[in-house]
């Protein structure tokens, strides 16, 4: 078993707003192992960003965070003093934000923004600082680093900015990179380039990555393991193979069917009807039930328990209960199961 680098157990985050409480994260369990990429997938508002911000201690003051465990390399983060948290952020745990333009300070030169990480953590000065900044910019494929370091964010293209943001996150050689939808604001060609860049940096710097996205298509490219989030909970978690070829939760099925696929190019793309629940009240039963064509009676009364399928794969769904009636997943999902069975057989031989 690989070394656990991040461990989250029973994480709850509740926001207090003028309109009442918002139960944004409701009991999340996550483990990130050394050297792996874990993708957290879910719709907007599913709590995936909130989960990682809780990990980094970046939530606003109206957020109440409670957890049984919230630890980095065995160090409990909940009681951490602000100064020690500052020491951790940027040096050990780095974050890439979604929108590369708004994530950069508009009135600070690129070089200074990158260098600030090293000024704060390593107290570097002048020449040493400049050399590291230039090296960081070069390592993400940005040429003419000295020239670039003197520019302001608005003078760069979208792709350049995202590379700068990645360089800034990695400049102090952190252990963990949290990438919060790093490709969402980019066009498709740039997405591919940025993904390739993150993968390359991962091998070079021996990173562990928490990759947040709403796009399963992107996940297939990069993740070792996948956690599917809905309404503040993880509903299914497994290796990339298990999630893509042996998915068990109806919400995962819906997400998979919503990914464009060449082999089904002439069909209308599936789209899940309805919207995620309003988390101003804690949902009763399974939060996904109202949108779930496979929902059982009990789904509306009682939250489903966690069913462990393999050492790596678990699901929260009443469908896996021994007393559940027989059901048949959508045809496309059955095809995936079929392929999974074949892969397993091939592996046995």
């Amino acid at each position: 078993m690989a070394e656990e680098i991040i461990r989250i157990r029973d994480l709850h985050v509740t926001f207090t707003e003028t309109s009442g409480h918002v139960y944004a994260v409701r009991g999340v369990d996550l483990t990130l192992n050394h050297g792996e990429t874990l993708a957290i997938v879910g719709e907007s508002g599913s709590g995936k960003s909130v989960t990682t911000k809780a990990l980094l201690g970046l939530l606003p003051t109206n957020a109440r965070v409670t957890a049984e465990t919230l630890s980095y390399q065995g160090q409990e983060l909940q009681q951490l003093r602000r100064r020690d948290y500052d020491q951790l952020r940027g040096r050990e745990l780095a974050l890439i934000f979604q929108d590369p333009l708004s994530a950069l300070n508009p009135t600070m030169r690129i070089g200074k923004q990158l260098g600030e990480v090293l000024v704060v953590h390593e107290h570097l000065k002048k020449a040493a600082l400049q050399a590291r900044v230039a090296a960081a910019l070069t390592s993400v494929g940005l040429g003419d680093a000295p020239e670039l370091a003197r520019k302001y964010p608005h003078e760069l293209s979208g792709g350049q900015r995202q590379r700068v943001v990645i360089a800034m996150a990695l400049i102090a050689h952190p252990q963990v990179l949290v990438a919060d939808e790093p490709t969402t604001a980019l066009d498709v060609t740039l997405q591919a380039q940025v993904l390739a860049l993150i993968k390359a940096q991962k091998t070079q710097q021996d990173l562990s990555i928490l990759f947040i996205t709403h796009d399963l298509g992107v996940v297939a490219n990069i993740a070792d393991r996948v956690a599917i989030m809905y309404a503040g909970q993880i509903v299914e978690c497994g290796t990339a193979e298990e999630i893509f070829y042996h998915p068990q939760h109806p919400y995962t099925w819906a997400l998979l069917e919503a990914v464009p696929d060449d082999s089904r190019a002439d069909e209308t793309l599936f789209s899940l009807p309805g919207t995620p629940p309003d988390l101003h009240q804690e949902p009763v039963g399974d939060a996904f039930a109202p949108r779930n064509p496979y929902a059982l009676g009990i789904d509306f009364r009682e939250a489903p328990p966690r069913t462990q399928l393999t050492a790596t794969h678990w699901v929260r769904s009443w469908l896996l209960d021994p007393q559940a009636p027989a059901y048949e997943p959508p045809a496309a999902i059955q095809a995936r199961w079929h392929e999974y069975a074949k892969m397993k057989e091939a592996a046995h031989d």
């Binding site: 980094l56 952020r89 974050l95 934000f97 300070n105 009135t107 800034m168």
Partner: protein, 319 residues
């Protein structure tokens, strides 16, 4: 850069022409003139003679032409109502008074305003924020004239701490005689405190919620450095660019404060000249005030370029 200055100068000339013309004709349209008070009881012949001497008997358009031509030559003429007074005397005797009053107001008011603005933003939604917000709203709504009167009656009258009227003169024109300057300075400064507290608080709150502040925290930048390097720096942009206008307003706009505290500055003299229909002084002061405003606008442009790299009003290559 040269091109910019030339363009601004042309704008200044056009603006001055329009402003002075409008002032001249408006003055001419008001019944009575600089000499009516002195000459109303004179015999008709004597009255005619006085008017002929001052040139006020000529038709409006002819007087307009004469006035504008002599102003072009830098000659504003002598005061009609206050013989011996010229614009150069105004600049030497009256302007320093207003300059000192205005600068004292700015130097006291803006730093205090910024301090309270930062406090209110950092302690958002606490009693500090609420107090600052309510007080600044109150101070902004009450005219400095009323504030001046209140200060006069309480600190000058009731408590008797400070003199009520007057301004240091002679060797103390620029420095000293502080007791006399305190009440009028505070009366004007309170408005600045309120304006700048609100301005900085609002712009800081905008920036507190922005992604790049989160980025800075995610980089592990300590909170005080986040505030100084990322928040205040960006929040200062609207503040810095507003400074020249505030200074200009403070110097020229203390008309009421100068009047109620009987301070012999350009504002008070302007009001007096207007009441006397004293065309040369009114025209001269108009030019002076307009030039100050337009100059401060130009300074604002320059400051914008200096503090915000996103703004390039003019092509830098020309500079």
């Amino acid at each position: 850069m040269v091109k910019v200055i030339v363009r601004r100068l042309v704008e200044l000339a056009v603006a001055l022409f329009l402003i002075t013309s409008a002032t001249f004709f408006l003055l001419a349209a008001i019944p009575g003139d600089a000499l009516s008070a002195q000459t109303d009881n004179l015999p008709e012949a004597a009255r005619q003679r006085v008017y002929a001497q001052s040139g006020l008997n000529k038709p409006v358009l002819e007087r307009y032409a004469t006035t504008m031509t002599s102003m072009l030559h830098g000659n504003f003429g002598e005061s009609i109502a206050d013989p011996g007074m010229t614009m150069s005397k105004v600049v030497h005797e009256k302007l320093p008074v207003s300059l000192r009053l205005g600068l004292q107001q700015v130097l006291l008011g803006i730093p205090l305003g910024l301090f309270f603005g930062i406090l209110a933003a950092i302690y958002k939604n606490t009693w500090i924020d609420h107090t600052v917000t309510v007080l600044s709203l109150l101070l902004m709504s009450v005219p400095s004239l009323v504030l001046g009167l209140l200060l006069q009656s309480y600190f000058g009258g009731k408590l008797g701490w400070f003199p009520i009227l007057g301004w240091p003169e002679g060797s103390q024109l620029w420095f000293g005689g502080w007791a006399l300057t305190i009440l009028p300075t505070v009366a004007g400064a309170l408005t600045h405190v309120a304006t700048y507290a609100r301005l900085l608080k609002n712009s800081m709150l905008d920036i507190l919620g922005s992604d790049y502040v989160q980025t800075a925290r995610a980089k592990g930048v300590p909170e005080y450095r986040v505030v100084t390097h990322h928040i205040v720096r960006n929040a200062a942009i609207p503040v810095i660019t507003r400074l020249p206008m505030t200074v200009a307003f403070s110097i020229t706009g203390s008309v009421f404060i100068e009047s109620i505290f009987v301070i012999p500055g350009i504002g008070q003299y302007f009001v007096q000249a207007l009441n006397n229909r004293d065309v040369p002084i009114v025209m001269g002061e108009t030019v002076m005030l307009a030039a100050l405003y337009i100059g401060s606008l130009f300074l604002t442009d320059l400051l914008y370029m200096a503090v915000d790299p996103r703004i390039k009003l003019y092509d830098r290559k020309e500079g």
